[in-house]
Symmetry: D2
Subunit: 282 residues, 4 copies
């Protein structure tokens, strides 16, 4: 790792910066104090900024609403927000095409199915399994776990359809140090019982980085990977995936990774960021 | 595998027979027709019969009530029923001793905690995490999955206590070809998120066979393992565990293992029973 | 799956076709009879053909030499051959930059390190662990397994460096029905012992498909994913990865997947190709 | 965990003590200074002492030779040494009975096959796969890894036989801080490729504790589990297995577990010993 004094000192070395959302820009209280100003300064310098998030619980338009500067208003244009749900949606549009898709999640998460031109059916409301073209795990909320996980299990034993996990996270922080079981864990449990192989979207898989890079090439046609920095708070998703994709990486300690354990984890896991900062504010 | 015409033909070669419950003696409609008569004949010949079941949802006394002969009444003496819950109970009595134990399961499953002289507290009713001496996964029913799995996750992040899985099964048959997520799968999901190592009781672990063998030695002091047969319907629990324990094994096709796939699974998994029968009736 | 009579009948529906090498175009006896003629016909129709292979044992130039048409000579231009080793090489050039890289593999596999401008050092010849910038698993041959796997294990306990697996395959066919342990299995064994997270290149990860797609865009700038077909003989690498990447897929039964088990495996694994053919010749 | 000043202070609370060998009684230089005197004092007090070791590389008779008191000579009677190889041998005698058994390991490790009355054949010398009744992984030394692991892989694809892993350890210390890949890791690699389920003997599985407990009952017929202490240097084998078996446990820091990490590992893994000591000397 390189020893650098602060994030804002090294940021100008890059033409594009990809930010993880939770633990970097936001926490359970909303956007982190000082973050809007940092982002505004980066954008003024001409650095192209993106949010890359493992999330399929709401539309990018709703996510965009999280990032507001007190004076300047919304910080990100809609095309600068990339969620794992968008990759699931792209898969559904390209590989499934039409028909009914069963899902687990809140109604708002069904956006990613409908956006692909398909009909979203909550698992609890599936009447005829033979009609279902695909099953999607979108969010851990919005359904009765006991009833609907058992229904999902039996649906997947009856019909041989692709199964999509639109957010691979295993848990997520909620409030005051507590965490919640994420939809990625529910999906892994069902996958293990049925013995099938689900298709997963989200970091650390490099596909979400490729997707964002293609977007960035529209804005900066001669952008190369060496000019991109990924900033994240989690070694095994943000840093591992971005390292494999081939861009520089900064681990920040404002989220999942505890300050006193960061160096130990980097050493024991062998996932090595280019930089280590307390936060993007320091 | 040996080619033998029927279960009742080879049974007299053994002094003790261990039976799995579900899929061998019972199914979703209750005790299988003809099974009481087979068991009665074995017992008349002097063969010592036991039930070994991965189940912690109810007391052995209640389980015993499942096995009734139309004329002779209850088939098994209470000491002939061995459940994985009993091993969990033995652990709690020996290693925890006293205090409060949190659990997931129906109230009836709390029997295994109370039998050990401990106070059973549903996870939802835990007030002071510091008071909890142990956490036990007993049954998949009797609680709100969303609320109580999340509470369990956070409890285990706050206090460092032993966690017991009193039934390692991952799913179980319910009715008309459907299955349900078993408590073993719920436990594995939480274990994977917290990164701790839970203590598991039940087949294929050999401990439940040792426990039953010790009981059988009380009845037949000179019994050796070569004189015992385990009859089960599941390769990776009943047959794998009993093979490792060192007793002969019979796979029956009246439950989990489908007739047309049995030989393929034996070959692909490499778990080889001594005998293969359609059921204990044939 | 769609019911189609033959590969050559549906091929003209695509503008680009990606082929797995082993089991599709080649086998242990060399190029499969009839394949050169099929490829020539495709190319004459203007279909852009690529080879995508999990292989880091030799350079693309050498791989190219495998595909020769009796009359027309070499079938593929060098830029049409894509190996997992090339992704490893790109990673090394971009993320490591300069210095010494330790490796396991034949001398010919060191091509992928040297191509990145780095110095390749067989693990057996590492003198000063502190000098090593990265460790790469390239091939299962070319070293003493006992000595050099143990050396690798101890090297990775001494220094915290990125570890690259340049071919994720777990085994590969050799001759007359026999298989060999592939370097991906050796890497997983060492990864499991040291507890670190290695960076893997190759199918089913989508990165190799993105890499090839970018190349194809140079030839056909308006190519979209719906106009691409991936042809492979292995469900859990070729078909799974290409499905996730979002292109159509054809499973052929001329390699890893046995004809009599194909439909059973598709059903039990839930990895569903768009088409199923005996081979690209039929 | 209980706070106690020293091992020798709490030892008299137990009637039998089970010791792990490596890291507790011995290290790479031989028996640890002071250990013979501690063991002599325990035995003089009438405490029944056993060695329980994951090892199938040599006979118990040879292992016994490691434990010598300068004045009193051999410390352990032969029946006080229990190795995982002995459980494998018991399995072979009871479940295989007669015929040829293929193995990986040094010639000395074949003791465990021959002791069961079977003919031991090194994998490299197997001529007719159909004759082989069982395959046993005994030791990581004594064979050519490249040639013989590949032969083992192909043997197991040809014949459907039980596969025994007689030592489940994944690595072991050799000298001056270095470690070596253990036979358990080699077995897991082959198991993962062939997709079969191997039968494993050794800690943390409780079978080796049951086996030793049965022996101890011959010496002390009224011994109960609460009167037994297991002393080990490894949380996930010695302590996990003995906890599940139901006896008290002491973790010592003279081997695998580093002093500065012990409490962190106990907390993060959730494997909780009854006591924690620097060594049995303190």
């Amino acid at each position: 790792m390189k020893s650098e004094s602060s994030f804002e000192k090294i940021a100008p070395n890059y033409r594009a910066i990809f930010f993880d959302a939770y633990g970097v820009l936001r926490n359970s209280s909303g956007i982190i104090d000082g973050v809007p100003e940092v982002l505004a300064r980066l954008q003024q310098t001409g650095i192209d900024c993106y949010v890359i998030t493992n999330d399929a619980s709401k539309s990018p338009e709703k996510m965009r609403g999280y990032y507001v500067h007190p004076q300047r208003g919304e910080i990100f244009a809609i095309e600068k927000i990339v969620s794992s749900g968008m990759l699931a949606s792209e898969f559904l549009a390209g590989k499934v095409g039409s028909g009914k898709v069963a899902y687990l999640g809140k109604p708002a998460s069904a956006y990613y199915i409908e956006e692909a031109g398909l009909e979203a059916v909550p698992v609890a409301e599936v009447k005829n399994p033979e009609e279902i073209r695909c099953m999607v795990f979108l969010d851990d909320e919005g359904f009765d776990w006991y009833r609907d996980l058992n229904r999902t299990l039996n649906l997947l034993r009856k019909v041989n359809i692709p199964v999509i996990v639109a957010n691979t996270d295993t848990s997520y922080p909620v409030k005051s140090g507590e965490v919640a079981v994420a939809v990625g864990s529910l999906a892994s449990m069902i996958e293990s019982i049925v013995g099938k192989t689900f298709i997963r979207f989200g970091k650390p898989d490099t596909q979400i980085f490729s997707f964002t890079y293609e977007r960035a090439l529209h804005a900066i046609p001669d952008l190369n990977k060496r000019q991109i920095l990924m900033v994240g708070d989690t070694l095994h998703t943000d840093i591992l995936g971005a390292n494999q994709f081939g861009v520089d990486t900064a681990l920040v300690l404002s989220g999942n990774t505890q300050k006193e354990k960061a160096r130990l984890q980097i050493r024991s896991r062998g996932i090595i960021p280019t930089y280590l900062f307390d936060s993007i504010l320091t």
